[in-house]
């Protein structure tokens, strides 16, 4: 009994020590980033580790709306990259950002259908056909908001029926909580079509899907703002991450991953 008691005591006293960090540890930052940035940012993370001053980047990839709420609820992070201005504003209004947010990239919407194409969707008009199983992002998710806007714009174009937007949205069978779930449902062939970002059609996804392009004048240009957060534990490392992202190397990575680097760079 005595031994058990002393073991219990020992374990209780050692627990707080686990949280402490030694100062000799390599630099480490936590980046909260929109799910659609998964591939580009993962590659940037590898570059940061190989840097002269190596920095380990931990990521939390999820829907921007979810990340914003987590930050609002006190999650510790150094950098936030959102897929739209709405959720960056949300975080800024709560005074969680240190300094202004910068738009670093743009993304475009595309429609993807499984290679097997069970619903025979060959052009955008086909999405309005009854019975097509369309999967989109939920309204609160940036991609979901962009998607709805895009269908309204298509409706006003010649060659599209007047109630196009409504017929398409009536075909929605699921509103996913982040864009990667939309990709997965199409990849698995369970959805007949999905609306995702161009950058989501990664080399791993591309072989299984067919991409339907959306005309420029109807497409919604998604803008990605990024900001350092007030809660950062290492603002120098966070600054280095932004410098890498906004610099030529970062731009190359973004472009390679299907994003368009923002034109007006500081």
């Amino acid at each position: 009994m005595k031994r058990l008691a002393s073991m219990l005591l020992l374990s209780l006293t050692t627990v707080p020590a686990l949280g402490a960090q030694t100062s000799a540890a390599p630099r480490e930052i936590t980046v909260y980033a929109a799910a659609s940035l998964t591939d580009a940012f993962s590659e940037l993370g590898k570059l940061m580790e190989q840097d002269a001053l190596p920095t380990r980047v931990r990521y939390n990839f999820a829907g921007s709306q979810q990340l914003a709420v987590q930050l609002e609820q006190g999650a510790k992070a150094d950098v936030f990259a959102s897929a739209d201005q709405r959720w960056m504003d949300h975080v800024q209004e709560r005074h969680l950002t240190a300094g202004p947010a910068k738009i670093f990239a743009h993304n475009r919407l595309v429609v993807i259908v499984p290679k097997s194409n069970p619903a025979h969707v060959r052009e955008l008009q086909g999405l309005a056909r009854r019975g097509v199983k369309l999967v989109v992002g939920a309204e609160a998710v940036p991609v979901g908001k962009y998607t709805r806007e895009m269908f309204r714009r298509l409706e006003r174009r010649p060659g599209f029926p007047p109630a196009y937007g409504d017929s398409v949205l009536a075909n929605v069978v699921s509103q996913e909580e982040n864009v990667k779930s939309v990709v997965a449902k199409v990849q698995l062939g369970e959805a007949d079509a999905g609306v995702v970002y161009r950058s989501d059609v990664t080399p791993r996804v591309a072989p299984g899907v067919t991409v339907l392009e959306i005309p420029d004048d109807a497409n919604v240009l998604a803008s990605y703002p990024i900001a350092i957060l007030t809660g950062t534990a290492d603002s120098a490392a966070a600054g280095d991450f932004l410098a890498l992202l906004l610099g030529p190397e970062g731009r190359r990575v973004l472009a390679r991953r299907g994003l368009t680097p923002a034109e007006t760079m500081p």
């Binding site: 009994m1 005595k2 058990l4 008691a5 219990l8 005591l9 829907g63 709306q65 979810q66 709420v69 097997s116 069970p118 199983k133 999967v135 939920a138 609160a140 929605v172 069978v173 699921s174 509103q175 996913e176 909580e177 449902k185 698995l188 062939g189 369970e190 959805a191």
Partner: protein, 280 residues
């Protein structure tokens, strides 16, 4: 001698206080979130929130699907619980393990498995398609996901209840030339009924709370597949108050189920799996 006694008494006291401290930590861990949920929204605001159409739609869907899932699990689970409780057969261990798996499987994994098995492109997809069925993104998918994760609770409780029926009653029935099925319906089931009820209630509660398998297999569509847990999760990302109101409602339902089990089972069942009171 005396000093050994005192030191052993002291260590007993230390052990007891450690028990109390550990219990207090755990009770706080489990209880504080519940208190926090209830305290967050004033009751008046809560009632007003609960009249929201979207919430009522999700609640209705949750109740309908979880009841259907429980019925399906009860009908399909009773025969297998009976077989497992009364027979030995080759492969029994394997089947037992399979039936317990959903209890330990992460629900999201269950959802992926369900998609790969019963999805349109899944293993059973062509067979289902032959009957004109496509399950993902339908209310049926919600019921299937709930039944998948909740079935083990019913089977385990029912099996235990059936196995605990005193052999002497069965022998007595046999001497009275009761057929096995007559014995099942007239002797075993009435005696094991409280276990069945407890199992069904646990199944219902688990089905009601199902999230991971549902959002993966059935997707998220208000009125079709968006059950309460999904509605809470999505509301959390846009409207915190609404999420809390829904959570409190779910909490009330769950407490109701647990109290129900406790009220129904203890006096009916001396050795029920969920109803052992410390006084006995």
């Amino acid at each position: 001698m005396g000093s050994t006694l005192t030191s052993s008494r002291a260590s007993e006291r230390l052990a007891l206080s450690l028990h109390v401290v550990a219990s207090a930590v755990l009770v706080t861990l489990l209880g504080l979130p519940v208190v926090a949920l209830v305290l967050r929204v004033p009751p008046g605001r809560l009632l007003e929130r609960l009249r929201d159409d979207a919430l009522l739609e999700a609640l209705r869907l949750s109740l309908v699907t979880s009841v259907f899932a429980t019925l399906a699990v009860t009908l399909l689970g009773l025969p297998i619980a009976y077989l497992l409780a009364t027979r030995t057969f080759p492969g029994k261990r394997l089947i037992e393990a399979m039936l317990e798996l959903p209890m330990v499987l992460p629900p999201t994994v269950a959802g992926v498995g369900l998609l790969l098995a019963f999805g349109r492109q899944g293993l059973a997809g062509p067979v289902l398609a032959a009957f004109g069925l496509s399950i993902p993104f339908t209310t049926i998918a919600v019921v299937v996901a709930q039944a998948f994760v909740a079935a083990p609770f019913f089977i385990a409780a029912t099996r235990a209840g059936l196995a605990e029926v005193d052999q002497r009653y069965l022998d007595a029935a046999a001497t009275l030339r009761s057929s096995p099925s007559r014995t099942l319906f007239r002797v075993m089931l009435p005696l094991a009924f409280p276990s069945l009820l407890a199992g069904a209630a646990m199944t219902w509660a688990r089905a009601l709370g199902e999230f991971g398998a549902t959002i993966t297999f059935a997707g998220n569509m208000p009125g079709v597949t968006q059950t309460m847990p999904l509605a809470v999760y999505l509301a959390l990302q846009t409207d915190l108050d609404a999420a809390v109101a829904m959570s409190v409602l779910m909490l009330a339902l769950s407490v109701g189920v647990l109290l129900g089990i406790r009220l129904v089972t203890p006096h009916l069942l001396p050795a029920g799996p969920f109803a052992r009171s410390p006084g006995r």
